[in-house]
């Protein structure tokens, strides 16, 4: 898998053949099974999938914060474009507690979570915690750090920052807390922001605010975003490129318009069809995907979607591992329906 010509620029982060295995009582669970993707400067990559597909584990593996039970292999290469000392570094090869990864975590790659309450310590004020992050990574000067922290709070749309600075997390509402977390994550000008279901716990009107905020901050600061979500609506509104995950594998990856207007994988198609949308035809039944997601424990090499797939080819899809097929420069899919097309291309 060499870099494609279409993307002349070097990616900030390239994940290759990422595998995460968890030993369970009844066998080995392949939670993430050979995931590749790249994150480019200033772009947003969406990682979409249903619960248990491995999207959160994938995103957490990047900054090595998965629990110890996760055996991780593969490579996650980070290329900083402005610091020579950090040139081309395999994050997976670093010790999760080493100084080097800590200098990247938070400083270069920041993360926001679904539930901001757990990301803040209830014992310290919001301002204190943002300042701490700044003092670790940016400046030792306390006054300066406070100034930056206040600026950040203003930037994420928290009014009355001086007062808010000295408040505790429980005094913030859900939306405000999420804003505060974004301000903490962005306080060190990271190059990559990983957002794991950042708005799932929020109401729609607040969700709209937070998404809008993320978009405008990206335009201003130019960071890359890895957006992990189950909501195709958010993907459509936020992302440049989308990777659809199912059962630990990326089954389809393409620019956002390709995914929505020209989906190839039966799972992607099924997902799009099963989603009710505003303004949709009410009288029509929703096309649902039959069955439910199996547990990826002791799974033989076969297509994980086989049992639920309408277009499955018996004897093909359930007997071998599905290779990745390139539909076009930027569109790849893991499905045997398209694998003849692969023959034509030089791979």
């Amino acid at each position: 898998m060499t870099t494609q010509a279409a993307q002349s620029e070097q990616p900030l982060l390239s994940v290759q053949n990422l595998k995460i295995r968890i030993q369970m009582d009844n066998g080995e669970m392949k939670a993430v099974d050979g995931v590749d993707f790249e994150i480019h400067k200033g772009k947003t990559l969406g990682l979409v999938g249903e619960s248990g597909c491995g999207k959160s584990l994938t995103s957490r593996a990047i900054i090595s914060i998965n629990p110890k039970e996760c055996e991780t292999s593969g490579s996650i290469v980070y290329r900083s474009d402005n610091e020579a000392s950090l040139k081309k570094l395999d994050l997976l090869s670093l010790n999760p507690t080493s100084k080097q990864i800590r200098s990247i975590r938070g400083r270069k790659i920041a993360m926001i979570f679904q539930e901001p309450m757990t990301a803040f310590s209830p014992m310290y004020t919001i301002g204190n915690q943002i300042m701490e992050a700044i003092q670790i990574h940016r400046t030792k000067n306390k006054k300066e750090a406070k100034k930056i922290a206040l600026e950040m709070l203003a930037k994420v749309g928290i009014s009355d920052q001086e007062k808010r600075f000295d408040q505790y997390p429980h005094e913030f509402s859900g939306g405000m807390r999420q804003r505060a977390m974004i301000s903490m994550a962005l306080s060190c000008n990271p190059e990559i922001l990983i957002a794991d279901e950042p708005t799932t716990a929020l109401d729609v009107t607040i969700q709209a605010q937070v998404l809008e905020l993320m978009r405008s901050l990206q335009a201003e600061l130019g960071m890359a975003i890895l957006l992990v979500t189950h909501d195709l609506g958010i993907i459509a509104q936020m992302c440049d490129e989308v990777a659809v995950m199912y059962l630990g594998k990326i089954v389809e990856q393409a620019p956002v318009k390709e995914i929505f207007y020209n989906p190839k994988h039966p799972y992607t198609k099924g997902l799009l069809k099963s989603m009710p949308r505003l303004g949709g035809d009410k009288s029509k039944r929703l096309d649902s995907i039959e069955g439910s997601v199996p547990m990826p424990i002791n799974m033989p090499p076969m297509c994980g979607f086989y049992e639920r797939c309408k277009d499955r080819i018996e004897g093909v899809c359930n007997t071998q591992a599905v290779p990745k097929t390139r539909i076009s420069d930027q569109h790849s899919v893991r499905c045997f329906l398209y694998s003849e097309q692969r023959e034509g291309e030089s791979q």
């Binding site: 066998g27 069955g291 199996p294 002791n298 799974m299 033989p300 090499p301 076969m302 049992e307």
Partner: protein, 381 residues
């Protein structure tokens, strides 16, 4: 290469007879059992405890001597082990002990015991000894082990009155191991009823019960014990004394359990599935019996198990202070009280063996409680 494990055949599968082993068909108790089985330390503890209680149950039979028997000839005798090889180097199939003779140390003039290698008494099983009632019912005088008359066996030595420590530890375990069980059983009932009322009805009743619990819990236990045992007349039979002690413990112990019950009751009362049952028209009693009780009974078992060590220590402490069981009746606390002089540590260290037994029991109960706690909610991931 491929072993092809069968993958997800749910749909094609024909209805099968129920496999009992399948976790999918397992009830709450079975899941708890399966989880508990994985906790090694707890399992070992369970075996040790079962062993200890078995000994306590057959204490009179196992102990070579009774409570009343003492021999002023053998005061503070050290533990003696069995021998197979005699002083002359000859091997005997039957284990034996030598006769103990007390002499004086020629230098310090302290009383010491030496083995008289002339006299051998071999070990015997099912010997006739002091009469007692087996399991409190059948009068008999057979003991598990002893030595030929007129020899004596003191496996763990003797105390200051020449009583066999081994027998006393075993006989003492009857009281020390059963008081907490009975005490906990009474607190269990009290806690269940009072905590249940508090949690189910709520409101002012709940407030009053909670305040009472807080008041009881805020008493310092030591003065409380002293006050309560001062209220107990001094010359009463052991059985009555025993009952009083149990009541004292239950009086303090139920508060913890009542709190657990109340907390679980309140949490479960608002669970969706309880509300669902209510909406479905299920009656109140049935909701309590079918939904609430099974929901917290496992937690209650855990809380109960973890309450026992406290009671064992409590009984020990009370007897140690001379407030509980008194000689010649015995418990581990009584034995420790008798061993409390500092000279014992230096001269007669075997008198501290009961301490080891107490520690062992408390530890195993705690491990068991730990294991149960981990298993109590098998639905949590």
């Amino acid at each position: 290469m491929r072993t092809m494990p069968v993958f997800r055949r749910q749909k094609t599968e024909a209805p099968q007879p129920v496999k009992i082993k399948d976790a999918n068909y397992s009830s709450q108790w079975r899941l708890i059992y399966l989880r508990f089985k994985k906790h090694k330390l707890a399992r070992i503890s369970l075996f040790i405890l079962a062993f200890l209680y078995l000994i306590a149950l057959f204490a009179q039979f196992i102990a070579p001597y009774g409570l009343q028997s003492y021999d002023s000839k053998y005061v503070n005798a050290p533990p003696m082990g069995f021998r197979f090889v005699d002083a002359a180097g000859k091997f005997h199939i039957k284990p034996f002990v030598y006769e103990l003779q007390s002499t004086r140390d020629p230098e310090t003039m302290r009383k010491i015991f030496v083995s008289n290698t002339e006299k051998r008494y071999s070990l015997q099983f099912f010997v006739k000894g002091e009469p007692y009632k087996f399991l409190g019912l059948i009068p008999t005088s057979t003991h598990l082990l002893g030595v030929e008359q007129p020899g004596r066996i003191f496996l763990l030595g003797t105390d200051g009155m020449g009583r066999d420590l081994f027998s006393r530890i075993i006989l003492g375990s009857q009281i020390s191991l059963s008081i907490p069980l009975v005490g906990v059983a009474i607190s269990f009932v009290l806690g269940l009823i009072i905590g249940g009322i508090s949690g189910y009805f709520g409101g002012w009743l709940d407030s009053i019960i909670q305040r009472i619990i807080e008041i009881i819990r805020s008493f310092p236990t030591l003065p409380l014990w002293m006050a309560l045992s001062a209220a107990i007349p001094p010359r009463i039979p052991v059985v009555t004394m025993y009952l009083y002690i149990v009541i004292i413990f239950a009086f303090i112990g139920w508060t913890d359990l009542a709190r657990v019950v109340r907390g679980k009751f309140i949490a479960l009362k608002n669970e969706d599935y309880v509300i669902a049952a209510k909406i479905a028209g299920v009656g109140n009693t049935k909701i309590i019996v079918k939904h609430l009780l099974p929901g917290f009974i496992s937690y209650l078992v855990v809380a109960t198990t973890l309450a026992i060590p406290g009671m064992i220590l409590g009984e020990t402490a009370m007897s140690f202070l001379g407030l509980g069981i008194r000689s010649p009746a015995t418990s581990w606390g009584v034995l420790l009280q008798e061993a409390q002089k500092i000279e014992n540590v230096a001269l007669y260290p075997w008198k501290l063996i009961p301490l080891g037994i107490v520690i062992l029991t408390v530890l195993t109960y705690n491990f068991l409680g730990d294991g149960l706690r981990d298993a109590a909610d098998p639905y949590k991931k």
